[in-house]
Structure formats: C-alpha cells, structure tokens
Symmetry: C2
Subunit: 393 residues, 2 copies
C-alpha cells in the first residue's frame, strides 16, 4: 500500500429532477458569467438544455452557449471556447453532456488564463499550471468517462489526430448533477460503450504490482459486480430507473480514484485505445472492449493469481487451485462474452479496424520517457504490436 | 434508491510520516491561530504532539493547546475550549487523537461564534446553525469513530449524562492526516473496539428498507470483508503496517456516508448504546458489540433475506434456499463469534452491565418525535427493552 493523498470535493446532486437546481449550484460555487458547453443536438431536442438555461435565468446569471463537442473531443472547439470565454469575461464553465462535453469544457477552463497554447499541458511541454483555472460544473447525460468526478480530460488534437489525456486536481468539477432519467434516451450501443469505459477505469487500477491493497481491491470488485448486474437491464429496459441509477453512480466512483488511491496504476490499454479512437474515430468504450481483453491475455502470465482473483470474486468462476491460470483465463473469457452480449466489439474486425495499421498504431502510441508504456508489466512498441495482434483473433 | 446529495471534501493525507505536513495543511486551509485539542497523555508521551506542534512552529502559526478529551467526550471540556478560543481569537481547531478529541473539537468549533449554549444543537432545541463554524483539521490516532471524514459529533452532557450526536456538513474536517504507524501502540482492546465501531457504522446503513441499492450494498460488503480480514492481524501483530493501514482507511470510508448515500438509515443501535456508554462509561465499540447482535436477532424476521445476503456475501455462509432464516441466523452467530475472538464483550454480563438497569436505560434512550427509534423496523420503549434483554443471554 502506497502513501497517498485523496480529495474528492465535488458536490454531487443525484436523482430525479436535480437538473432544476443547476442555476443555484452555479451561483453557490461562485459563477457570475457562464459558458454553457454541450455536444450535439440531443440536449437541445430533449429540452434539457432549455431547462438548464431556465435555471440560470431563474437566478439571473448571464450565459453564453457553445455546442458541438463530439466524441473524442477536438482541439478546434477548445480554441474556439477559449476565445469566446476571453471575449465575454466568463468565470464559470458549465458542461451539459457526457465525457466529451466535460473534457472539452475542462480544457477550455484550463486555457482561458494561460498565455500560451492549452495543448502545452496535454503534450507534456509544460508542467503543472501556475495560472488560475476556471471552476467547472456538470450536468451529466452519459455515464461512462467518469469525468464528472475525475481529475482527467482527454482531447484529440486535429493537427496529427493525437489523442492525449491530462490530469490535475483542479479538473475535478465543483458540482455535478446526475439524473438517471436523462440517460433513458441513450441508444443501447452508447450505453454499452459507457459500461466498458467505466469497467476499464477500474481495471486500469486493479492490475497493479502494489501489494497489500485488499480494501481497494474489494471496493473495485464491488463496483464491477454492480455494473455487471445492472448493465443488461439498462440495455433491455432503457427506462429502468434503478439500473440507470446504478450505472450512473458507478461510473463516477470508477474514476474518482476511490479504488486506486493506494497503488501503482497501469493505463497502458487507455493509451493504446486512444490511437484506435484517433485513427478510426470509434467510441472510446468500443476501442477498449477490443484492446482490454487482448492486454489481459498478454499480461496473464505476469501475475496469474491476480487474474484468478478477479475471475473468482467478480465472475464467480471456480478456483482451480492446481491450475490457477485456467481460472484466470476463464475470467477473461467471461469478460469478453459479457461485452459481446451487450453488443460491443471484441475483435479488430468487429471494430472495422485494419490489421495492416498495427505497426503505425503501435508506433504512434505515447510512451513514457523510458520508451515504455504502463506499469503492470511495462510494454515496448513490440509488446503493443503483439497486443493489437491478439485483438485481431 | 433515494435522491441524494453527497460531498466529501476532506483532504486526506495517508501514510508514513504524513503528520509532518500538519502545519502546511493548517496554513493551506486558512488557519492563522490554532487550538490544538487532544485527549490523554499518550499523544504527549509518544512524541506525536511535539511533532505536530513543531510542524506548526515551522510555518510560524501560533497555537494554544487543550488536552483532556476522554472517551465519550464531555460537555465540560467543550465549554472550556469555547472560552479559550474566544479569549485567544482562534480561527482553526486542530484535533490530535481519536473520535473523542475530534468530536469534542468539532463541538468547540461549533460553539465559538454561537451566542447561546452549543448543547442547543445536540439537544435538538435549535435547528441548523446560522453562524460561522470554525474549520477543523485532524491528526488521527485511532481508527474507529470515522469522525475524521464524517459530519458527526457525539458529546455526553455531564448534567444528566446524556450522550447525543449532532450531524452537519460543516463538521467534515478540512483535512485529515492518517498515518497507520500512529496506531501501533493501541492496546488490542482499543483496536477491537475500533473494529466493532466501524463495522456498526456500516450496519446502521446496511439494514434499510430502501430497495434497489445494489451498488452501495456491495461497497458496504467490501468494506466489511476487508475489515474482517485485517482485524485479527492488527491485533496479533500490532506493528503490522498493512493491517493497520487497511483498518485506518476502512474506518473513514465506513462513516463518510459512501455506503449510505442512497438509502434510509437506521441508527437505533447507536442510540441504545449511547445510554450504555453514558451510564457505565464503557467504550462505544464495546457497547455496540453487545447491542448490535441483539438488535439483529430482534429484527431478523423483519427482512430475513437481507440478513441472509450479508451472511452469504460477507461471512461466506452457504445459502439455505429452503430456510433463509437459518442462513440469516448463522451470519449473526458468525459476527458474534468474530467479535468474541477479538476480545470484545458480546453479552450484558461481559460488559459488566446490569439487567436491572434495563428499564431505566430504555426509558432514557432518545426517541424520535413519534416516540419511535430507528427506521428498519422502528422501536418503541418496549422493543428497546426486549433488545437489551436479548443482549443479556
């Protein structure tokens, strides 16, 4: 167990009709001129955007709107948002949508008072920000990225289509409104992609070399079990409040670092997936459902007992004490079958990705300064290629 | 699943040597004149108090000390602390110790800028405070009460020995320093009492009538499993860092409401126990290990399947699908045997409590305005007596 600091100060408002409190929340957290940032037309069509704007009107807070955040959100809109916020003296960024709108809003909040290019932080050119970052609030419509409670933002730069993440404590939203009813209209494929995304946020923390992390292991397993139980219901019955609610809260807890505080974390699969998303513009969760089982098969022999633990505790596999690796393998097969059953791709072909792109994908993946990726068993470019080839089967 | 708000903004510094950062934390959170509040002489003898004061010296923050917080902390010391803080224009309360020092410090922080008697809030005479409450910081030495991350304070008024709890969001500490090494010197009995205390914080939330709370059920079960696994090691090997660390973090998570956000909670056993503590001055955890199994036996027929769930998932009992109540009962027996194995009392006699006091204890227990206690199956005075009689067996 490692020393750690943990502070998750976001105020969560969870439940039916909570979006009507958005204006009050903005005021409570100091917003006086607001950028309302969102994605596609669905929040307009559903009437959600109108209700959020009304709640700002009700507390007499002026706002400016900026739509257009797309999945794998782009740098272009971030630059546009920064310009708009500077011009209008914005002091609070309110994101209405899923991970794309939130991540894009966080990047805007980071860039406004920075003299240089906000991308300096994502590219690693610049260290911790010394300038003020605007507070961010969230009205969530898609449980997946966990950005509503996390320190993370992931942006794709259009010049070269590099997808990069950046993590700072200041990115944790001041408040997040989570109404499960807002997710009823999500298509089943998007729901499923959210499920794989949140499960992978847990896996990235679960597969660690840090010993003596029993408590956070068990919390991670609890989250996974609850997600696995709720997901099929949410897909079969899109208006099932309880299943939607379980997924919505689980998605936040999967990524606010509750289950990762005390350990070395991996994140190799996320980096590998980022290149798939950037090249093919596939949903992040769909890329992950292809990459992660391959990563697991590649890494199994590094620590078969950890894979056996998750297989028994989460998937209910019988432990084969003579051949733990068989149990370990069975857990990976159960995961793959589960994701397939939700309609997710689990092979390169199902993702419509091309095996011939593998060398380029591996070459483009962002490595650490030591030329390696991840911490569980660090990967070089050859290992990344091997994982992508395993994903083709 | 109920609508909820959740905000746990405390900054946690967890691990070895973290107490050296106390002064920095006080400064970061705005303290300029500090009351350092602690309990008995052990924090002086161990050198911890000296190290904490040195860290305040290092950042040139003046402080005043007030020791003497006892288990089941008393109103007298709270009044004394309030006077001292007013006289010295204190703006930050730093608590060094366990639940007693923290709860007492919280009550002092509440009382300083209140014109009336701080007890008005604990007695229910006054509603939510409209005056400013001082920020509180913590250096924890005993994982048990969870006060380092909770909204709660429990104080015993010496005029009548009434023990009453009060909960407000402002009671959540600004920061908490958690170094498991500081718990090495805890006697095994105190360690065990901490274990039963944190387990009961989970039980009070677990036994609920709110349906569809799968995720928080599983998180609660995860915490319980980790505590049950670590506790015997911590008692057998007091200097086992990893076991001490698991208990320390679990104790916080057991009571910051992570596992209770979405549900009706009970808290009857805590109220019943408060009267035991007040009358016999027994450790809170020891009173709970006597009261809770009796409460469970009394309540089993209200929802046998919930008791069966915890028996199978936490205690590993086989589910008897024909007779779920047998599985349910077995879970209670396992709990009782576990607490006994840690050296905790589980009967009235082991607590040296007297059956003839039962009517008085029941009569004194604080009931709701409707004359009932708890929510799982609300208790009247006769039911409280019945539970206390079950505790005699």
């Amino acid at each position: 167990m490692l020393n750690f600091q943990f502070c998750s100060p976001t105020e969560f408002l969870f439940g039916r009709d909570t979006e009507s409190q958005t204006g009050e929340c903005v005021r409570k957290h100091g917003g006086t001129r607001v950028l309302v940032h969102y994605g596609g037309g669905s929040v307009e069509r559903s009437g959600l955007l109108g209700r959020v704007l009304s709640s700002l009107d009700a507390v007499s807070i002026p706002y400016f709107t900026l739509g257009g955040a797309v999945p794998n959100p782009r740098s272009g809109l971030v630059y546009e948002g920064i310009e708009l916020c500077r011009r209008e003296s914005i002091d609070f960024v309110l994101c209405v949508g899923g991970g794309s709108a939130i991540d894009s809003g966080k990047a805007i909040a980071l860039g406004i008072h920075y003299d240089g290019d906000f991308w300096d932080f994502f590219s690693g050119k610049t260290g911790a920000p010394a300038h003020p970052i605007l507070p961010v609030g969230v009205v969530l419509t898609l449980p997946a990225a966990g950005s509503e409670g996390s320190t993370a933002s992931v942006i794709t730069h259009e010049d070269g289509m590099f997808k990069r993440g950046y993590n700072i404590e200041q990115f944790r939203p001041r408040f997040a409104v989570l109404n499960p009813e807002l997710t009823y209209t999500l298509p089943s494929y998007q729901t499923a992609c959210g499920v794989s995304d949140m499960m992978c946020h847990i896996f990235e923390r679960y597969f660690t070399n840090t010993p003596d992390v029993d408590l956070t292991d068990r919390l991670a397993e609890a989250l996974l079990q609850a997600i696995i139980y709720a997901a099929p219901t949410a897909i079969r019955e899109p208006n099932n409040y309880e299943a939607r609610a379980q997924l919505m809260w689980a998605g936040m807890l999967a990524h606010n670092n509750l289950v990762g505080v005390d350990r070395e974390q991996d994140w190799a699969s996320h980096s590998i997936e980022h290149e798939l998303s950037a090249l093919y513009d596939v949903a992040h969760g769909a890329g992950l459902s292809v990459v992660y089982p391959a990563w697991m098969r590649y890494q199994l022999d590094h620590d078969p007992m950890r894979f056996a633990q998750i297989a028994t505790r989460v998937w209910g596999c019988d432990m084969d004490y003579q051949h733990p690796e068989r149990t370990a393998n069975e857990g990976i097969e159960r995961l793959t079958a589960f994701w397939s059953s939700l309609g997710l791709p689990v092979t390169f072909a199902e993702l419509e990705a091309k095996p011939e792109d593998i060398p380029a994908l591996a070459a483009k993946t962002a490595l650490g300064p030591d030329g390696l990726l991840g911490s569980f068993r660090p990967l070089d470019v050859k290992a990344i290629e091997a994982i992508l080839r395993l994903a083709c089967r």
